[in-house]
């Protein structure tokens, strides 16, 4: 577990280099601003400050870079809550309840919930990391395709909680999303559906597609409105209400804990990161909640669940990076580059020889999470003022930023074109009551689903009994099924209440349902 003498030395490093702490605030602000711009990724923010860190000493450089990382982890949720545009795929689940809350005029509270969940779980993730740094690294390498396939399936179960009037349309949307996610060259080297366009060889760029689908269903429809929130009284910017949201987070320790554990474990797996853990955390929280019917309509627990998984994921991916020297994603790849530029090679030998330094970096990240609370409140306060600007100014500006953001993803017109094509698709799907988020989930997870399924098949030579040799995968499936069964069993009473509500809904779409059951005769 934790090495006490190294821990003491780490505290020594931490307090003997107080001047390095000065980099925390600028780093956090850079991270927050970059991540709040849709399409600009954490990786890009860190790549920009990387050259600056070259001229610093090792520890201040690490403080600076990891501060950007910490700030960026939260920044994405600001546009997700205020405008339904997730800045990164990892804040996708935040939009479900975050945007609904802000439509109800509760944007102050929603951002408060998100910020505090981010802070608390960021710290929690690092505490966990401090305790299990080395064992975690070994576990991570043992996670194979079958386990990852189980995780991907778990992510897909979010679909069940998206709620749609028509199950058939939801399933069609999800299947379409998955197929879109598999376009391009698959892991075995087969190329499908590219129409000979080289840009599609690596598949449809998920971030522009996601922004397009969601922007169409919400942003473009704002054109007729005068303000993003129509009710005048609801547009206020209130520090008191932000703090109320922060405080309210503490009422849901269970949600925070579950989100953190899901976030740390999945965040530690190389190449996966928080873009799936937020979906799983959201789906699990919704499924086990007593008031699951109000999810998607502005339930703060939805925001907390999503944000807690994102924030704690940072700790997980840092663990993989420090202990193994392999990057979990783009951000940790930049961190490794920064390590190397200071002639430090992360990995097993780094942990063996420089444990105090590793601990000092982890401890400093906890400090950053606390500072994020203060800087974040200021940032939210400034950002929320967007609500007070008339749409005729906000909307053109946001659309320009989103378009340039998608350009930043691909570096050429392919990004903006993807944005536009998917905006039109999203518009049509929304018009005919297809759940657009189901398509997004499919696009985000389709590739992973295929890759891991295929590798599982290759490993087992098609023998399904192979899963018996993988206790990890069996455990994941078991947890998944037990959790499903328990909720199904425990919710019978609640289902009656939901049935009553569904009856109301059915009344609304009575005719459709009727037409649906009547086979077409002509």
């Amino acid at each position: 577990m934790i090495d006490i003498s190294a821990f003491h030395e780490a505290l020594g490093i931490l307090f003997s280099s107080i001047s390095a702490w000065g980099w925390i605030v600028p780093g956090l602000i850079i991270g927050l601003v970059f991540a709040a711009i849709p399409g600009i990724s954490i990786t890009m923010a860190m790549a920009i400050v990387l050259p600056m860190s070259l001229y610093m000493d090792f520890f201040p450089a690490m403080v600076f870079l990891t501060s950007v990382y910490t700030g960026a982890g939260f920044g994405g949720s600001v546009p997700a809550i205020l405008m339904n545009i997730p800045g990164t795929p990892s804040s996708f689940a935040t939009t479900f309840d975050g945007y609904a809350m802000s439509q109800k005029g509760e944007h102050n509270e929603a951002l408060g919930y998100a910020l505090f969940a981010s802070t608390l779980c960021g710290i929690f993730g690092y505490v966990l990391l401090l305790l299990v740094l080395e064992p975690l690294a070994d576990i991570v390498l043992r996670i194979g395709p079958v386990e990852m396939f189980a995780v991907a399936i778990w992510g897909m179960m979010l679909l069940g909680s998206l709620g749609s009037t028509y199950i058939s349309r939801g399933l069609l949307a999800a299947a379409l999303g998955i197929l879109l996610g598999t376009v391009g060259m698959n892991t075995a080297g087969f190329t499908r559906g590219t129409l000979g366009v080289p840009e599609l060889l690596d598949g449809i760029a998920p971030i522009p597609a996601m922004i397009g689908l969601l922007a169409a269903s919400q942003l473009l429809s704002l054109a007729g409105r005068d303000y993003i929130i129509e009710a005048e009284g609801a547009r206020e910017v209130s520090l008191r209400r932000i703090l109320k949201g922060c405080w309210g987070t503490l009422k849901y320790p269970g949600v925070l804990l579950r989100g953190s554990i899901i976030g740390v474990v999945i965040g530690a797996v190389p190449g996966v990161g928080s873009s799936i853990s937020n979906l799983i955390s959201y789906a699990e929280t919704k499924r086990t909640a007593k008031d699951s019917a109000t999810f998607g309509k502005g339930n703060p627990k939805g925001v907390i669940a999503a944000e807690s998984a994102v924030a704690s994921g940072e700790g997980g991916s840092m663990a993989t990076m420090l202990a193994l020297g392999i990057p979990g994603g783009g951000a940790t790849a930049i961190l490794i580059a920064a390590f190397m530029m200071h002639n430090v090679v992360p990995g097993p030998s780094f942990i063996d020889t420089q444990k105090p330094m590793a601990y000092a970096i982890i401890l400093n990240n906890m400090v950053q999470a606390v500072v994020l609370l203060v800087v974040g409140i200021g940032f939210i306060y400034a950002a929320t003022n967007v609500m007070k600007v008339r749409t005729r100014y906000v909307l053109p500006a946001i659309l320009v930023v989103a378009t340039l953001g998608t350009y930043a993803v691909t570096g050429e017109a392919a990004g903006p074109i993807t944005l536009f094509v998917f905006a039109m698709l999203g518009f049509a799907l929304n018009r005919y009551e297809y759940p657009v988020p189901a398509v997004v989930v499919g696009i985000l997870l389709g590739r992973m689903l295929e890759t891991e399924f295929l590798r599982s098949y290759q490993l087992s030579a098609g023998n399904p009994l192979y899963v018996l040799e993988r206790p990890g995968a069996m455990a994941i499936f078991a947890v998944m099924f037990i959790s499903l069964a328990m909720t199904a069993w425990g919710k019978r009473k609640q289902n009656k209440a939901e049935a009553a509500e569904a009856a109301l809904l059915r009344l609304r779409h009575d005719a459709d349902a009727h037409a649906h059951t009547t086979p077409s005769k002509g």
Partner: protein, 166 residues
């Protein structure tokens, strides 16, 4: 359309959308199969595509609705402020369509006009569509957006942005 005693209206837009989706899925399946019939290629794609086509057949009848039901559905969807944000009024629909067209033009003309001119024109058009009529405000705000966007993104992203004037 009349079937028996019941009058049905065909929702042509919906029919077109799902038929287009089904056609795309079918083409994708054929394209994948033309590359290789190996399991390594079709393991996930083939079953999901077939599933999607099955769902198409399932959704198909929903395109045919009873006439009187239409009105009821429309008023109901207006009451839900969250899930369906498609504006019902004609003028709002026109605005959305105009905004979509402008966005399409922006995307297509970015490289040809240069990012600066394309962004300036788009901002101008989008502001007019959203209701701004004051010429000074239109020009000033469009200029501001263009300048901030170009210089801001130039500082942030590692790719060159072709511009004409800036």
């Amino acid at each position: 359309m009349r079937i028996g005693r019941q009058t049905y209206a065909i929702d042509y837009g919906h029919l077109a959308l799902i038929t287009l989706i089904a056609a795309a899925v079918f083409w994708y399946l054929l394209d994948a199969r033309s590359v290789s019939l190996s399991v390594n290629n079709l393991l996930l794609v083939q079953p999901v595509a077939i599933f999607a086509l099955a769902m198409y057949l399932f959704v198909l009848p929903q395109c045919f609705r009873k006439v009187d039901a239409r009105e009821a559905a429309r008023t109901a969807s207006e009451q839900d402020p969250l899930s369906r944000n498609i504006p019902a009024e004609r003028s709002d629909m026109l605005r959305m369509a105009a905004l979509s067209v402008s966005l399409g033009l922006l995307v297509l003309l970015l490289d040809t006009l240069g990012f600066d001119i394309a962004i300036f024109l788009f901002t101008l058009a989008a502001m007019v569509i959203c209701g701004e009529r004051h010429p000074v405000r239109l020009l000033l705000f469009s200029c501001a957006v263009t300048l901030v966007a170009i210089y801001g993104f130039r500082a942030m992203i590692p790719y060159p942005m072709p511009t004409t004037l800036l």
